[in-house]
């Protein structure tokens, strides 16, 4: 079980990194989206896997009746999902605004903050 997910996680990371390495903002954003899923699966897998038993205590019981899926990584991933979603939303809008303002979606062309032909500082005193 962990093995299958480990390999899956690796694929998620590989794709995400490949997208992040692109020059195009939108592909980078897609990479960010995949990266979030990759990490969530990674944390989830790190907490070890158990099939189909949700961590919910049945009515009438005070503790789980059988071995349940590890609830802690679920809580962590839930927090991480929310956070990465917020950041993702922000970055999407940022990409959109950057494109509007800068007129390019190619990061090589985004050279306002670090202009290519930057002047040397004064050489005198």
């Amino acid at each position: 079980m962990e093995t299958a997910l480990s390999v899956t996680v690796g694929c998620f990371f590989a794709i995400s990194v490949y997208l992040l390495l692109s020059k195009h903002v939108i592909r980078i954003m897609l990479g960010v989206g995949v990266l979030g899923n990759a990490v969530n699966l990674l944390i989830f897998t790190n907490g070890r896997l158990l099939r189909e038993v949700p961590p919910i205590i049945a009515p009438g019981m005070s503790t789980p009746a059988m071995e349940i899926a590890n609830p802690l990584p679920q809580a962590l991933v839930l927090t991480a999902i929310v956070i990465s979603f917020s950041l993702f939303a922000f970055m999407l809008v940022l990409a959109f605004r950057a494109y509007q303002s800068l007129g390019t979606d190619d990061t090589d062309g985004m050279r306002v903050a670090e202009p290519a032909d930057e002047k040397l500082p004064p050489l005198g005193y």
């Binding site: 990490v39 790190n46 907490g47 009438g60 005070s62 950041l87 306002v112 903050a113 002047k119 004064p122």
Partner: protein, 518 residues
């Protein structure tokens, strides 16, 4: 496994039963106050005139509680509150030791000053679109990072200040801001994601998230590849946050783009949180792995120092010069980490305090310069010696501080680190610290001469500016010089912080008063 629902409940097995005194809340107040008031600020978003009246007292509370915290930690050792009343390591502990408290206090101080500067600098639009809430939550994130005793919670606070910094960096939506922010956002996101990945692995290895618990379990897992990989991932993630070479690109690409008061806050605070996290994880969790990595860290430190200062020499925009100086300073702190000795770590802590104050002040100084000359370019800005001798004096003191010359605050941590390097036989580090200091002297000496001394007809028009900025600048310069003249108290705190990190027994004792695993 299942037990009947009506079994008697043994609360003491799950919860802290001793009452929590109100005074203990100083450990959570630095986080809680900005969150509460940040939320209130959002509710009165359309009454911008109220914003400073909410934000400044809030930050004052943060400062007051962190000062109290430092005093209390100095007197009684680490202060712990485990949230929800659950026994550690099950609940999230806030654990203030000397390292966290000192940095928390310094951060609160500069944030308060910056927020005061912003009263004048940030217009109604900026306030309506969240300047003060961003600052409050940024501080909540930063203070939370310094004070939390839980590694995943540390990640959460990292994200809190990261997203707040996103808000601040784009506030204004100028073209260069959007460009810089894109790089800042993507690269920082990768960094925090690496941190999260590391934390996922950490949980998989240790089965715990409480820092004290990790520290006490780590010795049992020494010398294995997963632990080493974990230490390395953290090194990379926090090195990136701290802007260590070769993963520092986001900083020069972005720090000069936002409003100057924002840059001041960033330049002072954000990278230091990375340094804090490096110290916390590498020294407290992974001392053995850190020792293995020390050569790598040392070379990173050297490269960061040198490339930072070379970058500073190459810039003509004052803000960009400062961005590179931030980086160079990070290299110096990494040197302390590379050494890993009490003296080295203490030096890094003292340097961090110095750097928070001085880099913030330098950015604010740049703001004052621009206020009087309308620009930041070393090609245009001139003649300020005549216009504002007081500003020149402040500038000179800051230049001396950042260059590590007396009577500035930068001198003593550099002395500490050079000495620690020589004691460890790390001549390369000592050389790099001194050489980077020398090059900063040249860069900043030239800057001082060009901006203040130089006069010329084609240069920017200089004009008188309002006084408050200068006054607030003085509020930052004063402690810098005080540290330069009488560093003993700060060094004592730094030594205590280093001792606490290297031998976390008092930290462990504070988190687990019963000692053994519950």
């Amino acid at each position: 496994m299942a037990s009947p629902a009506d079994a008697p409940i043994d609360y003491a097995a799950a919860m802290v039963t001793a009452p929590t005194s109100a005074a203990d809340w100083i450990v959570v107040a630095p986080v809680l106050a900005p969150i509460l008031l940040g939320a209130v600020l959002l509710m009165v978003r359309h009454k911008p005139v109220l914003h400073p009246w909410i934000a400044l007292p809030g930050l004052a509370i943060v400062l007051a509680s962190t000062v109290a915290l430092v005093a209390r930690v100095a007197a009684e050792g680490p202060l712990v509150m485990t949230m929800g009343g659950w026994l550690p390591p099950f609940g999230i502990s806030f654990a203030a030791d000397m390292l966290g408290s000192v940095l928390a206090m310094t951060a609160a101080f500069v944030a308060l000053v910056c927020a005061a500067v912003a009263v004048r600098d940030i217009d109604t639009t900026g306030r309506r679109y969240g300047f003060y809430p961003f600052v409050m939550l940024l501080m909540a994130g930063v203070e939370g990072s310094f004070l939390t005793g839980d590694i995943f919670n540390l990640y959460v606070w990292f994200e809190v200040f990261l997203i707040s910094s996103f808000g601040l960096i784009v506030l204004g939506s100028e073209r260069s801001q959007l460009d810089g922010a894109t790089k800042y956002a993507v690269l920082n996101l990768v960094a925090t994601t690496l941190f999260l990945i590391g934390t996922g692995y950490l949980y998989g290895i240790f089965g715990t998230l409480n820092m004290a618990d990790i520290a006490r379990k780590a010795p049992g897992l020494r010398e294995t590849a997963p632990l080493m990989t974990l230490a390395t991932i953290y090194l990379l993630a926090f090195g990136m946050k701290a802007a260590a070479f070769p993963v520092n690109f986001w900083l020069p690409a972005s720090y000069h783009t936002p409003r100057i008061v924002v840059a001041a806050l960033f330049g002072g605070l954000l990278t230091k949180v990375g340094i804090y996290a490096l110290l916390r994880t590498q020294v407290m969790f992974f001392p053995v792995e850190r020792a293995v990595l020390s050569d790598v860290i040392a070379w990173v430190a050297v490269a960061t120092m040198m490339l930072g200062v070379l970058g500073a020499l190459a810039q003509s925009d004052i803000r960009r010069v400062l961005g590179f100086l931030v980086i160079s300073g990070i290299g110096v702190m990494l040197a302390g980490l590379a050494l890993g000795t009490p003296a080295g770590i203490s030096g890094a802590v003292v340097y961090a305090v110095h750097s928070i104050i001085v880099m913030t002040a330098l950015y604010l100084l740049a703001g004052e310069i621009a206020e009087r000359t309308g620009g930041y370019s070393l090609h245009d800005v001139a003649g300020l010696y005549r216009v504002s001798p007081a500003l020149a004096a402040a500038a000179l003191l800051l230049v001396l501080s950042v260059a590590g010359l007396p009577p500035g605050s930068g001198l003593w941590p550099k002395v500490m680190l050079v000495r620690a390097s020589l004691e460890e036989g790390a001549g390369m580090l000592a050389f790099a610290i001194l050489a980077s200091g020398f090059l900063i002297t040249i860069a900043m000496g030239r800057m001082f001469a060009l901006v203040f001394w130089r006069e010329g007809e084609n240069l920017a028009v200089t004009r008188e500016a309002r006084r408050e900025g200068l006054l607030l600048l003085a509020v930052l310069v004063a402690p810098a010089i005080a540290i330069g003249l009488w560093p003993q108290p700060l060094i004592a705190l730094g030594d205590a912080a280093a001792a606490g990190l290297l031998d976390p027994s008092s930290y462990l004792g504070a988190v687990f008063p019963q000692g053994a695993q519950p």
